[in-house]
């Protein structure tokens, strides 16, 4: 298996308007793949298509060789595609440990009757689950906050909990939607390290990020999209200097600006 995720010619429309347009992206296991582009370019829509929240109108999405196009989100998650959200979707009133436990949902083998009667199988399974949560809390340095409601945490900590929750499902593809948004410099550095170490577990990572320092530092490969279309792809240093990318980001108001951007 060469690719953990193959997005092939995918398009998505909203009431006739194109949101993503014929995108093709391939992610390898252990690779950190960046998706960048200006606001409203269609990045989050792409992620929603991959995770099943939207069904694309055209094209196919394959995960580990299996077609997952149009599958419901929980099925896709059960297969090992987990995500975080741009605007953090933690269960705010619930504790850190309980939040991380949510990620372990697909791994727990409990049946419906275990919610009524607790037998020895339940006890074993429950202990295993919480051990896994403990492991992740240690990994993310959250053990001291186990009982704290996530709504009371700082942004940076919340991002970590969200990532820990996704990791609890032992994903093979992790989708991070702006993981550094709202973080301060130190937190960003810490996060960068964590993402690196996750990718070393041979987990494919796909991320949207606006913090370009981080993107350029962290990712192995980047696709730049604008108006739902791919405008450039390549390794970070290539993309950073690609005039099409500069134009998309910084913009141009006149023809002579192009050489201006290239010139530096």
């Amino acid at each position: 298996m060469e690719y953990v995720l193959e997005i092939k010619n995918v398009s998505k429309f909203f009431s006739g308007l194109v949101a993503i347009d014929d995108l093709t992206i391939n992610v390898k296991p252990g690779q950190i793949y960046g998706i960048i582009g200006p606001n409203g370019a269609g990045k989050t829509t792409l992620f929603n298509c991959v995770t099943g929240i939207y069904a694309p109108e055209k094209g196919s999405i394959k995960y580990k060789g299996k077609d997952i196009t149009g599958m419901p989100p929980h099925k896709i998650a059960q297969m090992g595609v987990l995500r975080t959200f741009q605007n953090i979707r933690l269960f705010k009133e619930m504790s850190v440990a309980e939040n991380i436990m949510a990620g372990y949902h697909t791994k727990s083998k409990q049946k419906w009757y275990h919610s009524i009667i607790h037998n020895s199988f339940y006890k074993k399974d429950e202990l295993e689950s919480w051990k896994k949560v403990e492991e992740l809390m240690n990994f993310f340095d959250l053990s001291d906050l186990a009982t704290t409601p996530t709504g009371d945490l700082s942004y940076g900590k919340q991002r970590k909990v969200e990532m820990a929750r996704a990791l609890a499902a032992s994903p093979e593809l992790l989708i991070l939607d702006e993981p550094a948004a709202g973080l301060n410099e130190n937190e960003t550095i810490e996060l960068t390290k964590i993402i690196k170490s996750i990718s070393e577990m041979n987990i494919g990572i796909m991320m949207i990020e606006h913090d370009m320092d981080m993107v350029m530092n962290l990712t192995d490969y980047i696709t730049v999209i604008n108006f739902g279309k791919e405008i450039s792809q390549g390794v970070p240093s290539f993309v950073q200097d690609d005039p099409r990318v500069i134009e998309a980001y910084i913009g141009s108001d006149d023809e002579n600006d192009k050489e201006d951007a290239n010139g530096k």
Binding site: P73, R83, K92, E98, M101, A102, S115, W130, E134, T147
Partner: protein, 317 residues
């Protein structure tokens, strides 16, 4: 022993000794309280835990009561054997009704369940298949017999209801500490995040319905036994509104909350019979006031239900 356990044990201890102190009038209030508390807890599984806006909970309570009444009166089945049917029918009806509408969003779901409740009332009042007895319902339900003993006295019924409450609390405790129970909370707090964690949202919502309905069904059976009669007005839409309000006024997914809610809605009116005329006015005002002062209920739920070994050591913050 944490706070919640202390409260639970204290509450159960008081309830266990009540029959020794109460006269018969109090005893029947006690039974009503226990039965309605069970129904409120079962509604709390659906509304408070899964967060599904169910405003037709009286249906399942009614299915249980009518199942017992019909099987006993029309088919001569012993009361004790009607209870499994009450559980199963309630659960099946719950899934059949909620299934097609489970994807509806909040208010729309609420309206649909109101609709079901009104259809249910009409089915009962129209004496469907000659089984439900029309507007007057079914009378003359037998007493419960276990091992040849007739359990007729109020005290016996009180302890049956009390037993049911204990079983309900036990199930809820087990539910809260299990994969299924947690999944319900996740769905309640953020459906999209829950989906993205691999939780099959409609499946778990229907599970909550089936579980809540079957508990309400048993409570219905006990209710039918207590009064030896069932009639449609006990399962009408207003009753569902009450169960809905109990959970939210008390505090959803909170044990003391639901107890407080049930007490305020069903026991206080019995205590202040002199306010009989104006009691619903006072309740209405109290509902409004509670929501304004405490939008999450009198005693909201607290989370952090995790094993001891994960709890941070004292001093660490």
């Amino acid at each position: 022993m944490n706070n919640k356990t202390t409260i639970t044990i204290a509450f159960l201890a008081i309830m266990a000794f009540l029959p020794l102190l109460a006269d018969s009038a109090w005893l029947s209030i006690g039974i009503t309280f226990l039965v309605f508390a069970v129904v409120a807890f079962s509604q709390d599984i659906i509304l408070g835990r899964a967060g599904v806006f169910n405003m037709g909970h009286a249906i399942f309570f009614g299915i249980g009561a009518y199942t017992t009444a019909i099987l006993n009166v029309h088919f001569g089945l012993e009361i004790i054997y009607t209870i499994p049917f009450a559980i199963i029918f309630s659960a099946i009806i719950a899934v059949l009704l909620a299934g097609p509408i489970i994807h509806l969003k909040g208010d729309y779901f609420l309206v649909a369940t109101i609709g079901f409740n009104i259809i249910f009332e009409q089915v009962l009042s129209n004496d469907i298949f000659g089984l439900t007895g029309g507007p007057n319902g079914i009378f003359g339900i037998d007493v419960i017999r276990i091992f040849g003993y007739e359990l007729f006295s109020d005290t016996a019924i009180y302890y049956i209801a009390f037993g049911l409450l204990i079983i309900t609390l036990f199930i809820i405790r087990n539910l809260d500490n299990s994969k299924y129970g947690r999944a319900l909370y996740y769905i309640n707090k953020d459906e999209i995040a829950a989906k993205s964690m691999g939780i099959n949202v409609p499946y778990y919502k229907l599970f909550a319905f089936a579980l809540g309905a079957s508990i309400a069904g048993v409570a219905g059976s006990v209710f039918a036994i207590q009064y030896s009669a069932v009639s449609p007005e006990s399962f009408n839409f207003m009753q569902s509104v009450m169960f809905f309000a109990i959970v939210l006024v008390g505090g959803s997914a909170s044990l003391p909350g639901v107890i407080i809610g049930t007490f305020v809605m069903f026991v206080l009116p019995e205590l202040f019979t002199e306010f009989k005329e104006s009691r619903y006015l006072i309740f209405g005002a109290a509902m409004v006031l509670t929501m304004i002062l405490r939008p999450n209920g009198v005693w909201p739920v607290t989370f952090g239900n995790i094993p001891k070994f994960l709890r941070p050591k004292k001093g660490a913050k």
